[in-house]
Subunit: 324 residues, 2 copies
């Protein structure tokens, strides 16, 4: 019997070709009528999803009695409705699919902020004398990366190889990782923060990382620190960030990720963060920039599903207990 | 007899310490009264200078009959009044003193422009759909560097090691240089331009480089090219740049250096360049950002003068025929 795969989006030709070697039936939801949809869901063993506004998993999960695997196209899975997902379903993320463009965006924000390019003025004295724009040297500075997964690793690599940074990593266990000179477990974050010239947040959002960076952590930052967040908005506490950035003009903060309210990312955010001169924001575009990136991410998700079809262990298994 | 050195600016303590091992008398002009000044100039064998508005070399050169060496604190020497400098005087530049911060600034402008951070909007569809801001991928792109001296080399190194760029260099002779995969002489610039995703201009201004990048060169740029200039403004022809940037919104151009009018850098420039959405400008601050950078540059200049004191060959001898 063929394995029935349902994808919430249309897949690129290259991804479909990969599936042709296997005994599968693929349904792409945007191509289906209402009746075909119900039938496809009822037969689905694998769901490949962008489970956002286009596809409401909470409403559909009961229509998929044969579902065994959820493979996301996104790197993060914090948006999934874990409480309604039956425990016999395995969830796999697409972590790593966006590492390179997101790490590039992180470095673009770091350098923009470090050199004052977020608020350039054409008067040299004013540019150099203003705490908001005065250029900071990058080479041989200390880079602290929160999260040593695919994105964090690539941020560390660019720092180390491009700018000879001294790299400190934070992850759950404190296990050593390539491109990091030192790694500590999350509970030592407060000790590491005052040492960093640059802080890059590349953590997934789960119950361990939610509001990990709050007032105490932000106040522990070194004078003149540059901080960027390309993980998830809610790793940082929004109100605390606004308060500390307003008080400490020496800190420059850039983010591509925002805070969730009523199930969606609120842009602009609830606080007047975007009015602060030491704040730089982009609307969650680091990973989804180009067609080629999206295509690569979809192919990567299909490759992971193929591991399942072959009876191998797919990558990026999500530990549901991290989220509920 | 001690060697008399005149510096147009006060030197940092560290630089003066270096001179204590030699038989020298050092005069720092800001510390002198009018009569002492005349006496110091009349005895000067070495002039260390910022020959800008603070010290007018054209007016003072005749007061320095014993002058043998001019050592600049600046990396470029295009501002020196070469026609009035007697041919028995040797001129040494401070090329390389600012390579690291200027290369960092070049990369900051490249990444700012590549990721649309010069004009960020908070609507993702608008951000990704607009030719002015849509993010460009950096990794493995082709980087063309005009000028393979200290700054150009460091720009190429950051590209190669940080972002795995394919590096093409342009210099006068086409001689191979570290961190460059290919190097061509200046007369092959037009062949190289259409291949480059990123172009960095790091050339000194002299009679060979003036207006080297004009309408023909700018029109030869690849669709979507990112161009930054950290050399000298007049290497690019201002009117042509304005014309081409206005026509081709796909090109994004950043500059830290501007065009000379009546002996000084005109900021903002004569054309309305700074109003264009695909233009990013900073007021010549890449090299002079921090006290530590200025101090390092002054020490480096003193070290070069010490080579002269020891009878060694100083570095960065300026070939005056490049300028007159």
């Amino acid at each position: 019997m063929p394995t029935v795969i349902v994808s919430t989006i249309e897949l690129p030709e290259k991804a479909k070709e990969l599936l042709r070697d296997y005994d599968v039936v693929l349904y792409e939801l945007p191509r289906l009528g209402k009746e075909e949809l119900a039938s496809a869901l009822s037969r689905a063993e694998v769901l490949m999803c962008w489970c956002g506004r286009e596809f409401d998993l909470t409403r559909s999960i009961n229509s998929m009695p044969r579902l065994r695997v959820i493979q996301t196209f996104s790197a993060g899975v914090d948006h999934l409705p874990f409480p309604v997902i039956p425990s016999n379903i395995e969830v796999y993320s697409n972590a790593g699919a966006y590492s390179v463009p997101v790490a590039e965006h992180a470095w673009a924000m770091i350098l923009t902020l470090a050199k004052g390019l977020h608020r350039p003025v054409l008067n040299a004295r004013e540019y150099l004398g203003n705490e908001i724009t005065s250029p900071r040297r990058i080479i041989e500075s200390t880079l602290l990366v929160l999260g040593t997964g695919g994105i964090g690793l690539e941020i560390a690599r660019i720092g180390k190889e491009g700018f000879r940074t001294h790299n400190i990593g934070i992850n759950r266990s404190g296990r050593p990782t390539e491109y990091f000179d030192e790694v500590y477990p999350t509970n030592q974050l407060l000790d590491a923060l005052p040492r960093a010239d640059i802080v890059a947040i590349a953590l997934p959002l789960n119950k361990y990382t939610k509001a990990l960076v709050s007032e105490k952590e932000l106040k522990a930052l070194k004078h003149g620190a540059i901080v960027v967040n390309v993980g998830r908005g809610d790793v940082v506490k929004e109100e605390d960030l606004y308060k500390v950035l307003k008080e400490r003009q020496d800190i420059r903060f850039g983010t591509d990720v925002w805070w969730m309210h009523d199930g969606h990312e609120e842009i602009p955010p609830m606080t007047p963060l975007t009015t602060l001169p030491n704040f730089l924001g982009t609307p969650h575009i680091a990973g989804g920039a180009q067609r080629e990136i999206a295509e690569y991410a979809m192919i990567r998700a299909v490759e992971n599903v193929i591991r399942y079809l072959r009876g191998e262990t797919p990558m990026n298994k999500v530990s549901i207990s991290d989220y509920v």
